[in-house]
């Protein structure tokens, strides 16, 4: 008998539901992303999006998997970290479903889920994970029973930086892919602030300087190219430091920005230099979606981790290293 997990993700502007079985098959994975308006994500707007579309997305994920609700053995949900209103809306749906189906509820850490689905996708056992998205920029590795953040951004996330610049120069959201395209037409590199602090990094100075170049009339393609080379170079450096420090031999690239080919190419270079393996998580599993929550829920459940409904309050500031990773111990 296989175990069937429904995973519900809703930490930020995406809502997703996925069905995964304990033999590692992703049976369905449905999501919808709210396009953030000027100035980033509005938590209330996003949570309204989730409560309006959530039930439909969940229904669709069940139908696409070719199962009926009663086939679901566990309900897993993204418990944090993320935006409070979004997390609460998502948790309410998960609790209701778990009660109605009378099955266990599993609270999953969003960042941990990105790593675990990446491991399923790649077959990696113990990677240094480079997690890059609109809201996150982190290098994470397993050590002493927990996933520990070796480095992260000290200010804004890389995806946020790309989207902010893109918006300024009139690119539609998400700007990352458009910046990548534009950079192919570049002819000149302009120096931008390269800011690495230990294994942490910072992108706000780079964004300010890129905006200044734009206001001075520098070609957008040249700025895009310079942004990419600088921002990804910094990321490569902190990944390399994490790899050298932990002595691991796998690099996993995940999150929405993982789609970028130049970033992939640079990190492949890092891996090669250290005789490490490299994997970029498949596009459908790299962004925020339910399958990663469903799969991590299975790992937790099999290790005896489930959560009574009265204790299932959300954790907006849940740090990756706060959770004991009992299934890897």
């Amino acid at each position: 008998m296989v175990l069937i997990s429904l995973g519900i993700e809703g930490t930020a502007h995406s809502f997703g539901a996925g069905i995964v079985s304990d033999d590692g098959q992703v049976k369905s994975n449905v999501w919808d992303m709210l396009t953030p308006s000027e100035g980033g994500i509005h938590p209330r707007e996003a949570s309204r999006h989730h409560s309006e579309l959530g039930p439909l997305i969940i229904q669709k994920s069940i139908a696409n998997a070719g199962i009926v609700p009663n086939d679901i053995d566990i309900v897993s949900f993204s418990r944090g970290p993320g935006l409070g209103p979004c997390l609460r809306t998502t948790a309410t749906m998960a609790r209701t479903l778990a009660l109605r189906l009378n099955v266990p509820l599993i609270g999953v850490n969003h960042c941990v889920a990105h790593i675990e689905i990446g491991c399923l996708d790649s077959g990696f056992r113990d990677p240094v994970t480079v997690y890059v998205s609109g809201g996150n920029t982190q290098t994470i590795a397993f050590s002493g029973g927990r996933f520990r953040t070796f480095g992260e951004t000290l200010d804004i996330a890389i995806g946020n930086m790309l989207d902010s610049f893109g918006r300024d120069v009139g690119m539609r959201f998400p700007a990352g892919p458009k910046i990548e395209m534009a950079s192919l037409d570049a002819s000149t590199f302009y120096e931008l602030p390269y800011s690495v602090k230990g294994m942490d990094l910072s992108y706000s100075g780079l964004l300010t300087a890129a905006r200044r170049l734009y206001s001075e009339g520098v070609a957008v393609s040249d700025i895009c190219y310079s942004i990419q080379e600088t921002a990804f170079g910094m990321l490569a450096e902190v990944a390399e430091r994490a790899l050298a420090h932990t002595k691991k031999d796998e690099i996993l690239l995940t999150g929405g920005v993982a789609k970028n080919n130049r970033l992939t190419n640079i990190l492949e270079g890092v891996a090669e230099r250290h005789d490490a393996k490299f994997h970029r998580v498949s596009p459908t599993l790299a962004g925020d979606q339910g399958a990663m929550i469903a799969w991590t829920g299975i790992l937790q459940y099999n290790a005896g981790d489930q959560i009574p409904i009265p204790d299932s309050h959300v954790l907006p500031k849940w740090r990756t290293d706060e959770q004991e990773i009992i299934w890897r111990a």
């Binding site: 050590s143 000290l154 230990g198 170079g233 420090h245």
Partner: protein, 211 residues
């Protein structure tokens, strides 16, 4: 200098070679180029870090911080020849130290960082692998490639944040004892301003987080 260098370790960004000249043990630290970066960034990084490192090794010593003496700087090859410091990194020692000894070393580490900060400089990568403890139990600071002068409160706070980060990723078992002793040593030399810097450290820690 024509001499027989032997590879000792491969760092994240450097090759560390060991050699002997006139009965003196030396280290050759080379920053090789990285093919995955564009040339402009690659050579900018290698040169600026090599030059920073060599200048700061000397400046830090003028502040009373034990650092290897620089004998040769080559900004073409991006290499530095310096004294070899015989000992082990604090990182490797931590696990086998009794708590009392660990506290003594951590207080001393905190004081070295404090001396640097009092000289308005920051280390930039103050992890326990960049502290060498020699046979006489004296602590030496190395690896100044990310160091900076004219340090602000923000930069000093970041330096402390990086120490905190290194403890929680690498020395989680001894994290509390170590942090407490480092801060103790640090504050004893920095004085009242240390409160401001510690507060900034906590701010910085919260900032990058997703809320």
């Amino acid at each position: 200098m024509r001499l027989n260098w032997k590879l000792m370790t491969l760092g994240a960004e450097s090759r560390i070679l060991h050699g002997v000249w006139n009965n003196q043990e030396l280290i050759l630290k080379i920053r090789p180029s990285k093919s995955y970066l564009i040339d402009t960034i690659d050579s900018m990084l290698r040169r600026s870090r090599t030059s920073r490192e060599s200048r700061m090794l000397t400046y830090a010593r003028s502040l009373g911080i034990p650092t290897p003496c620089v004998h040769w700087l080559d900004l073409e090859q991006c290499s530095i020849v310096m004294d070899f410091i015989e000992g082990d990194s604090l990182k490797n020692l931590v696990a086998n130290l009794r708590e009392e000894k660990l506290r003594i070393f951590c207080r001393a580490f905190g004081k070295l960082i404090a001396s640097l900060h009092n000289g308005d400089a920051v280390h930039g990568d103050p992890t326990t692998s960049n502290v060498i403890v020699d046979r006489t139990e004296k602590l030496w600071l190395i690896d100044f490639g990310l160091s900076e002068r004219n340090a602000t409160i923000e930069m000093k706070g970041t330096d402390l944040h990086l120490i905190y980060r290194a403890l929680e990723t690498t020395h989680w078992k001894q994290q509390e004892v170590m942090l407490q002793s480092i801060i103790e040593g640090y504050s004893s030399l920095v004085g009242p301003q240390s409160n401001l810097i510690l507060e900034r450290m906590r701010d910085i820690r919260e900032r990058g987080r997703y809320h």
